[in-house]
């Protein structure tokens, strides 16, 4: 029996005013959590928007749940099975947290009031916002609003969860809570997690896709990407200007990521961040990745 992938992108290209945001991207996703890394402008958000059916590709084919959504009915059928947290998300004025998620639930066709309210309470509890659900959205902190956005994406336990930087502005304690929520979601759903936080990818994902300049630079297991940095990370007593990256750590020693070991350096265990820096080189350093 052939297993139909949740997402299958073939040769997807999207240009904005002549600049390629995505360039011939091929990607297949099935159940589990896939991390999407890349510098700013790499095309991560464009990829998520196309997969979420809010943007059409200039070229290539997008197949979701085995169908190519074209007409309004097919689009609605696909959208019933996906949850999407966009990178930037405003909130309508005057809504409480509960009211906002309730409104989104109506848009997701939860027409039975009792069932809808129960589902809204469930997702608010999942993201630990049940205590502030009655507060106006305008009175919530940035991190709370981000979790509210995640709550609406989780409505109905979607088969495909597309998350664009879900942990931005979220404090470490809440981030752990969100990781628990996402790891549970990844057990049965397909989760695509776009982020600058390499430690979130390392903690949650079994697969990572690195985009750069609209093209896929790496697609494989997180462990495989980390392995590319083996033997290229050291702890030294002094910074190494010739290295790809070098910085002073809290112990007073310098972590050096590069091609050659500095004098007197000792090997260090590579992390996903090291591998990412090595993969993208100067671009990763100039556009930044959150440590």
């Amino acid at each position: 029996m052939t297993v139909v992938p949740t997402v299958a992108l073939t040769g997807v290209t999207k240009r904005f005013r002549g600049t390629a945001a995505l360039d011939d991207v091929h990607l297949t996703l099935g159940p589990g959590i896939t991390g999407l890394l890349g510098p700013n402008g790499a095309g991560k958000t464009t990829l998520l928007r196309i997969t979420a059916t809010v943007l059409t590709p200039g070229a290539g084919e997008v197949v979701l749940f085995g169908t190519r959504p074209a007409g309004p009915e097919q689009l609605a059928a696909v959208r019933r099975r996906l949850g999407y947290l966009p990178q930037e998300m405003g909130h309508p004025r005057g809504f409480t947290g509960f009211g906002f998620v309730d409104y989104m639930a109506v848009l997701k066709e939860w027409t039975d009031r009792a069932a809808r309210h129960a589902e809204v309470r469930r997702v608010l509890e999942l993201v630990d916002l049940d205590g502030v659900a009655a507060r106006r959205v305008s009175a919530l902190s940035g991190g709370q609003r981000r979790r509210l956005g995640l709550a609406q994406a989780l409505l109905g336990d979607p088969d495909l969860l597309l998350l664009d930087e879900p942990t931005t502005g979220v404090d470490p304690g809440q981030r752990v809570t969100l990781r628990q929520v996402l790891s549970r979601a990844g057990e049965r759903s397909t989760v695509l997690l776009s982020t600058h936080q390499t430690e979130d990818v390392a903690a949650l994902c079994d697969r990572v896709v690195v985009l750069d300049g609209g093209r896929v630079r790496f697609d494989g297991a997180v462990a495989d990407l980390v392995a590319t940095a083996a033997g290229r990370v050291w702890l030294a007593d002094a910074p190494d200007p010739a290295a790809r990256a070098s910085w002073r750590t809290g112990t007073g020693r310098h972590r050096v990521v590069g091609q050659a070991a500095p004098a007197g350096a000792e090997p260090a265990e590579p992390t996903l961040e090291d591998a990412y820096l090595l993969l993208l080189g100067e671009r990763a350093r100039t556009t930044g990745v959150a440590a």
Binding site: T53, P86, M89, H91, G94, Y103, V106, L107, R121
Partner: protein
């Protein structure tokens, strides 16, 4: 963690539209601008009813201004605010045309208030036992113009909210509607011909009484109030359909364009019939 609930079976568009329209209607009813408009309507009407005459129909300007004109701002604000979550809304199964239709249905909230107002004024006129020189049918038609304007203003707000991104577009639309209406009062200064009636009645809202001077007796303009109401209803349909066209795609968009064309023909026909009636002015 609580248990995952069963995902709802796909609802019909009708069920989703009803639920969404009810949610939008609640938002409309809670809008501070709308509530202020209702208070102003009550105050202005109560004040005017103390000085009743047989031209009570021109009180229709009160709901047209308090609910219709203010409704342009409310409709625009509601439409823009529902667009604020951006892609999260666009990725939901309820598409843009459905969301716009729900907003259009929410515009019946001020319409319901205006209808209650019309009943109130009609009862007050009847209780005052004034000689109604223009006849009750015409009087009711004149009151109805205020009710339809109370729905039409918010619909224009929804239309402008869908097609523009400029935050002050609602205010600009309200000013344009006011200007259009005021410009058409020039028809009342023209001779009582069908052309003069056309200039007078092509506005989205029209007053029906005027006078040739401060001490001159008032008169009622020519034309048919009920065909004018039909013209207003057609304009409302045009605004709602044009708003829905914005996010409709494929065959649905084509259908909506056809509906727009039909409504435009109906609007022109109703206006022509409103102007075809006797243009002679009736002195009150």
């Amino acid at each position: 963690m609580s248990a995952v609930l069963a995902r709802p079976a796909p609802s019909t568009r009708g069920a989703t539209l009803r639920t969404l329209a009810a949610a939008e209607a609640r938002r409309y009813a809670r809008s501070p601008v709308f509530l202020a408009g209702v208070l102003l309507l009550l105050w202005a009407t109560a004040t005017s009813l103390g000085d009743l005459d047989d031209a009570g129909g021109d009180l229709a300007v009160v709901p047209a201004a308090c609910l219709g004109l203010a409704g342009v701002l409310v409709g625009h604000s509601l439409t823009r605010s529902t667009s604020r979550p951006g892609d999260a809304v666009r990725a939901a199964p309820a598409d843009g045309a459905l969301r716009t239709a729900a907003l259009a249905l929410a515009c019946l909230v001020p319409g319901a208030v205006a209808l209650a107002w019309a009943v109130w004024v009609a009862l007050a006129l009847a209780a005052a036992d004034l000689p109604v020189a223009i006849g009750w049918g015409r009087q009711a038609g004149m009151l109805a113009t205020g009710v339809v304007a109370a729905v039409g203003g918010p619909l224009v707000g929804v239309l402008v909210g869908r097609w523009t991104r400029f935050p002050g577009a609602g205010l600009v639309a309200a000013v344009v509607l006011t200007g259009w209406t005021l410009a058409c009062t020039a028809g009342l200064m023209m001779t009582a011909t069908r052309w003069g009636t056309l200039v007078h009645l092509n506005a989205p809202f029209a007053t029906w009484t005027s006078a040739d001077g401060p001490d001159a007796p008032p008169w009622l303009a020519g034309g048919s109030p009920w065909w004018y109401v039909a013209y207003q209803v057609a304009l409302c349909g045009l605004a709602a359909t044009a708003a829905m066209v914005h996010e409709a795609t494929g065959a649905r968009r084509t259908r909506l364009w056809r509906v727009l064309a039909v409504l435009a023909v109906v609007a022109v026909g109703c206006l022509a019939l409103a102007c075809a009636a006797d243009p002679t002015r009736v002195f009150l």
